[in-house]
């Protein structure tokens, strides 16, 4: 039961955070700096979350480095999200089994 209360607490908190700006911000934000800020946020946060956390997913760090480099090069060359994701996954699996 206590676990369900935990789950309820986190579900409400997370939903609240997601819903408040979208429901309350009805007007166009005209501030140029703030608009630029909102554009940069997703890229910066994804980059920060990815690195260096990605390096600790395998016991041997070099394998994670190879997977990271492969994903960066593939994605930069506009290979599809699906292929980048599964490609570096397969690569890391293969290197671990060597």
């Amino acid at each position: 039961m206590r676990n369900y209360i935990y789950i309820l607490v986190m579900a409400l908190t997370t939903y609240f955070i997601r819903a408040v700006p979208l429901t309350l911000l009805r007007k166009e934000i005209t501030n140029r700096t703030f608009r630029s800020f909102l554009t940069y946020v997703p890229y910066v946060t994804l980059a920060v979350m990815t690195f260096p956390a990605i390096l600790s997913i395998t016991d041997e760090t070099w394998i994670a480095w190879v997977g990271f480099a492969a994903a960066m090069v593939l994605a930069y060359n506009r290979v599809s999200l699906f292929i980048v994701s599964l490609g570096c996954c397969a690569l890391v699996l293969a290197l671990q089994l060597l």
Partner: protein, 306 residues
């Protein structure tokens, strides 16, 4: 009309669903460590839809910590959803009814947000509903499979599945960096700063969720001040004439790349996944247009129409 947009959202959501399915298997396995039952772990995934938040919650729940601690940790770790929600509020029709906003808000995740902001023009709520309706079951069912299969999968496979998550993140931000020259250094600075924060023991007192928020706020704000994005005003018509053409060329180029990628990868059973994946490329290129320093989002759109 709604149906077409909804179907497009579903199609674009397929790679997200596959990624979620794989990642949430690891979530399910981790949930076992917090002594959650399969029903509890599945309920959590269905109602929360947050990888970092759920991962962080397991240690807190296992420790039997106060509810307030869980609340604060979720608020901090998921603050980026708040920022994404701000961004989406600018992307939807201002007249859009309240209930659409309430439903859409539930589906704000890194990946669905990535798809949504990549849409040209105003965001149709039905597009998000389409993406949500495939991504959420992927996340929920993966969690269930994960907790039921605990101990059955070797570590090498679990590690590789983790890689798929980060591969997906990289595939969201890197194509945009190719189109917007200022984004590439910003991404590398973000990674470098993140590594420094992680490695220096001085910062050990800050939780990893908090580090993500601090870095995101500081770097994004600095970038916004130093490299503001062009306004959507008529004043920049002159600049638009130049950069608009560039954007159109870029869009055409991205379209070509996407087309050839689709043709090259037509092998294999995941035909639908391929199509969705290439669609994501096209949209990411569109997304990068909004980030053009010289031009504006509106210019890019006009250019691609003409």
């Amino acid at each position: 009309m709604h149906r077409d947009v909804y179907m497009r959202g579903m199609r674009d959501g397929i790679p997200v669903m596959l990624g979620y399915f794989v990642v949430s298997i690891t979530i399910g396995i981790a949930a076992r460590g917090a002594n959650l039952t399969a029903a509890q772990a599945t309920t959590m995934s269905l109602t929360n839809l947050t990888s970092a938040g759920q991962f962080a919650s397991f240690a807190i729940i296992a420790a039997g910590a106060p509810y307030l601690e869980l609340l604060i940790s979720q608020a901090v770790i998921n603050l980026r959803y708040c920022l994404m929600s701000c961004a989406l509020s600018q992307k939807v029709d201002q007249q859009m009814p309240f209930y659409h906003r309430l439903i859409m808000a539930f589906g704000i995740t890194d990946e669905i947000f990535g798809l949504a902001v990549g849409q040209k023009g105003k965001l149709d709520p039905w597009y998000m509903y389409g993406a949500m309706s495939v991504a959420i079951p992927g996340w929920t069912l993966g969690t269930l499979l994960g907790i039921l299969s605990t101990g059955m999968l070797p570590p090498s496979i679990l590690n590789a599945m983790n890689m798929a998550l980060y591969g997906m993140f990289i595939a969201i931000f890197m194509p945009a960096a190719r189109d917007n020259k200022i984004l590439l250094p910003i991404i590398f600075i973000s990674m470098g700063a993140s590594a420094v924060f992680q490695m220096l023991p001085v910062f050990d007192f800050i939780s990893s969720g908090m580090k993500i928020i601090i870095l995101t706020l500081v770097i994004s704000f600095a970038a916004a001040v130093l490299f503001p994005i062009g306004e959507e005003t008529a004043e920049s018509e002159k600049a638009a004439g130049i950069s608009g053409a560039g954007d159109a060329a870029k869009l055409a180029d991205a379209g070509k790349t996407a087309g050839s990628a689709g043709a090259g990868d037509a092998v294999g059973s995941a035909g639908a996944g391929e199509a969705a994946g290439t669609a994501v490329i096209g949209e990411t290129a569109g997304l990068a247009d909004t980030g053009e320093t010289a031009g504006t989002a509106a210019d890019g759109k006009e250019a691609s129409l003409s």
